[in-house]
């Protein structure tokens, strides 16, 4: 099992609480001010969920899934997608749009548990944390989808998400970009000397890249001025965490050479 400085519990807390706060803040600040300038906060919430989801992927995929790391991310983001849209529809039906993200999160947990139980008990995959991981990743996926969708549409009301995110097809962009942001960090750092801090810094960096893309998409919906805060925050955040990832790589790699021949066997220290 993959060890790390940050415990799964604390990451779960960061992901769920941070993600929900971001989504709510963006929605209501936009509503109060009547603009779409605060959409970027929802994307920041989604990045915290990417942070959490990447660690959940890391924990389960370090057992070896037999089909590569990406499969579990795609499965969970597919589950999250259905949960999010049903959650929003239930909120609209009950007239309780305030509860939308929470309903979506609970539904995602249900689909995630079902998937985990099927994978562990029926298909008999020998991974002890399968149920928990599938649930966590599906929940993280639902926050990622909802966060980036809110960043695009400016609100998480069903009608807005439907008209701006689903009908335009951006939902599939959020699906794969959000999924990739979550599964790429561990996939890119796969190897015996993988380290949690480096993987998670990479997760934040890919999260900001996903935010950049959702900022571009937001330009199609709410106009260029609304997209500018998202783009600026995304670029600044990406630079910070990419540099941190670079520094971590420099620290962890056997050597970081500007050029050179292949080291001879006696030069390699083991």
């Amino acid at each position: 099992m993959a060890e790390g400085d940050r415990s799964p519990g604390s990451l779960l807390g960061i992901g769920v609480i941070g993600g929900l706060i971001g989504i709510y803040l963006a929605n209501y600040l936009n509503m109060v001010t009547g603009t779409a300038w605060f959409s970027f906060i929802a994307a920041l919430g989604a990045i915290l969920a990417v942070f959490w989801g990447a660690d959940a992927v890391r924990r389960v995929a370090s057992y070896g899934l037999g089909t590569g790391v990406p499969s579990i991310g795609l499965l969970s983001i597919g589950a999250g997608q259905i949960a999010v849209l049903l959650g929003l529809a239930i909120g609209k039906f009950a007239g309780l749009e305030l509860a939308d993200p929470i309903i979506a999160l609970i539904l995602a947990a249900i689909v995630g548990i079902v998937n985990g139980v099927m994978a562990r008990r029926v298909i008999k995959m020998n991974i002890a944390i399968m149920e928990r991981s599938m649930t966590e990743i599906a929940m993280a996926a639902s926050i990622i989808l909802l966060g980036f969708s809110t960043a695009i549409a400016g609100s998480f009301a069903f009608d807005q998400i439907m008209a701006y995110v689903v009908a335009s097809g951006f939902i599939i962009m959020v699906f794969i970009v959000g999924g990739m942001a979550m599964l790429h960090p561990f996939n890119a750092c796969l190897g015996p000397d993988e380290r949690q801090k480096r993987t998670l810094n990479l997760a934040l960096s890919t999260g900001f890249l996903a935010m950049l893309v959702s900022g571009i998409a937001a330009g199609a919906i709410n106009g260029v001025p609304a997209a500018v805060p998202t783009l600026i925050v995304a670029i600044v955040g990406w630079i910070i965490y990419y540099m941190r990832f670079w520094a971590d790589t420099k620290q962890d790699a056997a050597a970081m050479l500007s050029t050179g021949l292949i080291p001879k066997e006696e030069e390699v220290m083991t």
């Binding site: 089909t67 259905i82 049903l86 079902v114 069903f158």
Partner: protein, 247 residues
């Protein structure tokens, strides 16, 4: 407005078809690129998705052109997926024969059950076969046909359901795609991934087709697909009563 129970049956059936279809598709995984394993060289999930979702494009066009004709949508979805994989496997075989210079063979069987050709003598040292011999080729076409039909069933059921929601015939800006097609397509892709990832976990690596011993694991996949697509399909269909004011 309550959704049609028959459409839920279609989704569950579609999910089972997708999961079962994946087992027929000959997947060599990474070793196939080094001519170390029989089958097409890609991961299980993605090969099934590549052919099945091409089938979904066919099913989508068929649904739009025929105005929602069930049989036409399903058949064109299945045939499009089968065509995709037959091209893919054939071109990959051209690569093996003319690019890598290896005959097409499998180490898991002594005689190809379809052509009755001897296999074991044509397997090079230290490998488990290379390319996609006839039995795997046919198996792949059957698998893609089934998976494509499954994807088309899911798409058809969802599109028929969302069709009934008021205002869902609108489109985004001036683009031709109506809301209900967009939503149905997005969910079909989601449900497709749910089922084919489950099936690929069941296979766990590589499979050569219906003659492979791993093929006997198919009942587990069917059970998992049944539950997963029941939950997923129910969630997707419940959007209808939620938006039309109750059951």
């Amino acid at each position: 407005m309550m959704f049609d129970i028959l459409l839920l049956v279609y989704i569950v059936l579609g999910g089972i078809f997708i999961g079962a279809g994946v087992h027929f598709i000959p997947v060599g995984g990474a070793p196939a690129a080094m001519s170390q394993a029989t089958g097409v060289g890609t991961g299980t999930t993605m090969l099934a998705a590549a052919s099945g979702l091409t089938g979904l494009i066919g099913a989508g066009s068929a649904y739009a052109v025929s105005g929602g004709d069930f049989a036409y949508t399903i058949v064109l979805g299945g045939v499009s997926a089968a065509l995709m994989i037959s091209i893919l496997a054939f071109i990959a075989n051209v690569m093996y024969v003319y690019g890598a210079g290896v005959p097409l063979s499998s180490a898991k069987i002594k005689y190809d059950p379809i052509t009755k050709w001897r296999q074991d003598l044509y397997v090079s040292r230290g490998t488990e076969g290379h390319g996609t011999p006839m039995v795997s080729f046919i198996s792949g076409i059957i698998g893609a046909l089934i998976a494509g039909i499954g994807g088309a069933l899911v798409f058809f059921a969802l599109a028929e359901t969302y069709n009934k929601i008021g205002g869902f015939a609108a489109t985004f800006q001036s683009y031709p795609a109506p809301y209900y097609i967009a939503l149905a397509a997005a969910f079909s892709i989601g449900i497709f991934f749910l089922n084919c990832v489950m099936a690929s976990y069941n296979i766990g690596g590589t499979i050569e087709g219906f003659h492979d011993p791993k093929f006997r694991r198919i009942p587990k996949s069917v059970a998992a697909s049944f539950v997963v697509s029941l939950v997923g399909g129910l969630f997707a269909l419940l959007i209808l009563p939620m938006l039309t004011g109750g059951f």
